[in-house]
Symmetry: C2
Subunit: 241 residues, 2 copies
DNA sequence: CGAATCTTTGATAAGGATCAACGCGCGTGG
DNA sequence: CCACGCGCGTTGATCCTTATCAAAGATTCG
């Protein structure tokens, strides 16, 4: 499939054994707009994409590689991130079922994508896409939708990174993530503290301390490291105005 | 044109008199991809968009307003930003000639857009667009291009906000902005220190101090507040690895 | 020239990073 | 089955970067 060479080398301080893989959280409702790229689901239709399973903490593609395909998440969670040469990492987004990632204007990927936990994605080759696009104008509209939504999310993320305190960042993160939890008050986190820290522009220690702080203040209960119970959803939301 | 009501109210601490408007920096090369939405330039062609002049520090649209149009910068500089209820502001991007902004998936704008200095933009009504799209499939490809480029920029910005120090942020900003300066070593800044601070997730004081620091270290010379001369471009770039 | 705004600089405070150590959970192997 | 080791997470002590508070230059414009 992809051309994955000696790419795992980057994952120095973030490597880890495969995650145990908890019960997967459900898809965020994409409403009706989700249909087109979903055609690959329908058996009988000429497969527009290739299904691919990725184990946890494995790279899907690396920055600089030939961007010959983009992807749609079927299940699991994917993180899209940048590495600085000194090991610092910034996670731009976590993608869950229904999300599209890997859209590029240029020849090469400008970021890396990795599975947070065991995940399934569908890859769509850009070359195939050109053919499809001719016949199906809805497709480019679909892609535009995904690109614009990604843009809106990235912009919201910028505010978080640039103008929020640690407490606000973590509170916002929990609330966002809670939206993907079937049981509205029990939030299962798919990612490690390091992932959360790199997403929020904090250190792992600050994230941990902030969770403890929010627990002391009775906003949440940290049942296990990966499971949070919301005790005061409104209060949590109020932390971000 | 737009429906600008009592929207200027937001601009409490960032308001200011019109800027003097220096010689405009040139457009970033968009290569060939720039053609389609540029059709409005061609006289004789049914106008696809409406030209609009905006004076400095005036709002083009506000967060929450009906997103009935998107825009392309002809000249000047536009900032796209978010306000928090307590006055904190985050600038997501500065747009210059050739850039498209205001693309939205939803009904309302999720951000505000304001002219940094006297600027000219073309607005394209989304309703008109639908008609165009039918006849011209290149258009949706164009829009996709702009959306994806915006996404890539937003992602690069996230790294800056989340994982860079003040010095790295300012150095990166100067280098980025230098790309838009005709004379490669004299950089004319269209925006205030407050704008830069809000773009980089810093305070105005830190930005100012960092400029001074970079000058002391002989990377730049701060000729006037709005004009920087690059003394050591490579060194400046090395600050970001 | 003087008012208003913007920018710079200084002194101090605070939020988060860093350094360090310990605990917990889990899988492995004796 | 228990002990051990290892990754991960939590907590503590301290440091450092950047924010905040304050005031003095610059710059612009009426």
């Amino acid at each position: 499939m992809g051309k994955s060479k000696a790419m795992m080398a980057l994952l120095t301080k973030h490597r880890s054994a495969e995650l145990p893989e908890k019960p997967r959280r459900t898809a965020p409702n994409l409403a009706k707009n989700n249909s087109l790229i979903g055609i690959a689901y329908r058996p009988g239709l000429r497969a527009a994409g290739t299904v691919r399973n990725i184990t946890g903490n494995r790279q899907i593609y690396g920055e600089g590689e030939d961007a010959d395909a983009f992807f749609k998440v079927v299940s699991g969670v994917v993180r899209v991130c940048t590495f600085l040469s000194d090991g610092r990492r910034q996670i731009d987004a976590f993608h869950v079922s229904g999300d599209v990632f890997g859209l590029e204007t240029g020849k090469a990927y400008s970021l890396s994508a990795e599975a947070v936990c065991a995940s399934t994605v569908i890859s769509y080759r850009r070359s195939d896409l050109a053919r499809f696009e001719e016949s199906n104008k809805a497709l480019s509209r679909q892609l535009l939708f995904y690109a614009m939504r990604g843009l809106a999310r990235a912009q919201a993320h910028s505010v978080l990174l640039g103008r929020r305190t640690a407490i606000e960042k973590v509170a916002a993160f929990i609330i966002d993530w809670a939206a993907y939890s079937p049981n509205s008050n029990v939030v299962t986190l798919a990612m490690s503290r390091q992932d959360i820290a790199d997403y929020l522009g904090l250190t792992i220690e600050t994230v941990s301390r902030t969770f403890s702080h929010l627990e002391r203040e009775a906003f949440i209960e940290v049942t296990t490291a990966r499971q949070i119970t919301l005790k005061d959803r409104r209060g949590l939301r109020d932390l971000n105005n």
